[in-house]
Symmetry: C2
Subunit: 274 residues, 2 copies
């Protein structure tokens, strides 16, 4: 077993977990709680301003585990798809400015019934972004989302699919993000974790609550659900991943709690369950 | 394209679609609407009585496409698992008595965090049922459920997994049920449909509504969502399936509509979209 020090060194607050906090509050809260990493969201960065966000993170002595999110490639018209690529380029510039190593890609849904075309647009979008990302020192992390989000958020829904997309590039260019909430159900999970060796650019934890109260907002604090968190973590580490572990929870009850309490609880749960 | 006659000959009302109707009402409603097949549910059969249910179906001139449902194999104790097997044997006897060719298996969830053990119990449960089912002339249809049900209803969540389980037996013993709602998101869908050739024991249609109002009750009428219904149907037929096509919709709004109206609508939608 790893020491508590090791766990503490790798813990990252994905700031959506404390959704009511501004970026400043999340950064300062993480520093108070001795959490060394933070995963930032673009809308929070935009509220605070890019330069000010960068300054706040640096002054607090934090490192940025990832920026959420790029992606959302599919759209009905070529114009819209170009606009989405432009937005992804801005996301890459922001990630670079903030010192994030990874831009998380939530790849987007089909604008109609044609899921194959949407998947093709995702592939084309990534292909067009890679040189720009590489020039900015940013790696693209394809995050497969749970299949229940296939119609609204991402046509990339399995780690096998994300791996196949990433393997067209070097691991310095494109890898995968493994979020337990999205992949825990997959009979092929451990095979695909092995296949992702060297390309895992992020590892996110939360839990799957039973009964599940809501598709989007139903994630739970680690230990409150049925996911084999430690088993998945060990599998991810067994193939070499030693980077930050983000706690990313969409849950209204947690969002309504005081941020400092949430951070105290997630540290306890992280040590016990992850 | 198939003729309207062909479509009409294959249409089946899964009686959960008219949840407020008793078995008698569903049978008589189907006959009125010229729908030749019906998929029965055990709790509806139990309300009406097995012999009476059989008589009603026969007198209306309907055929039973399937009985829902067996399965639910995993449980924490060996005693509970034995009880569940006993219940599956009763389901097989009922299916046989009703003249259904197939018992649909919804395989069950893990009683704890151990999804691998639950999957093993499913395999063991099926192995123990096969001789009994065969002796009664009933084929077991493994229905992979959507991964969002992995924690509460079925640890069998992909067609690949259902195929692998079924392939341990002859197609006369065990096959798969393909329900578009559960599998439409799968990047491997068409490969797995081909693999299921000769083992497809049922084909269920509904739709995936956007935005999705609810995990269990959010299914839509065909045409109201994003599933490529005709493409999937054609793929299923291309590998030889020519059996009944069940319309199975869990949706409170549809359940609250008058049954005859629902049947009229589903016939129209079936002809247009399936």
């Amino acid at each position: 077993m790893e020491s508590m020090d090791d766990a503490r060194e790798r813990l990252s607050l994905n700031q959506i977990t404390t959704e009511r906090w501004s970026l400043k509050e999340a950064v300062e809260g993480s520093a108070r709680a001795d959490i060394p990493w933070i995963g930032l969201w673009r809308h929070k960065v935009a509220e605070t301003g890019l330069a000010e966000s960068k300054r706040l993170v640096r002054d607090a002595g934090l490192s940025v585990s990832s920026l959420c999110r790029g992606g959302m490639f599919p759209a009905a018209s070529a114009d819209e798809r170009r606009n989405k690529l432009d937005d992804n380029r801005r996301a890459i510039e922001e990630a670079s400015e903030l010192g994030a190593e990874v831009l998380v890609l939530v790849c987007g849904a089909a604008p109609d019934r044609d899921i194959d075309s949407a998947r093709q647009w995702v592939e084309e979008g990534i292909a067009q972004l890679v040189p720009f990302a590489q020039a900015h020192g940013i790696r693209l992390g394809i995050e497969p989302l749970h299949p229940m989000f296939a119609a609204e958020r991402s046509v990339v829904v399995t780690l096998a699919q994300a791996n196949a997309m990433a393997e067209k590039y070097t691991p310095q260019q494109v890898g995968v993000i493994i979020d337990v909430f999205h992949v825990w159900w997959d009979p092929d999970l451990y095979v695909q974790i092995k296949r992702a060796s060297g390309r895992i650019l992020g590892f996110h934890v939360s839990d799957w609550i039973v009964p599940t109260p809501d598709m989007l907002m139903g994630r739970g604090m680690m230990g409150d659900g049925v996911i084999e968190l430690r088993r998945i973590r060990k599998a991810v580490e067994a193939v070499g991943y030693q980077g930050p572990i983000e706690v990313e929870i969409f849950n209204q009850t947690i969002w309504d709690q005081a941020g400092d309490e949430v951070l105290a609880l997630l540290k306890t749960r992280f040590a016990r369950h992850v």
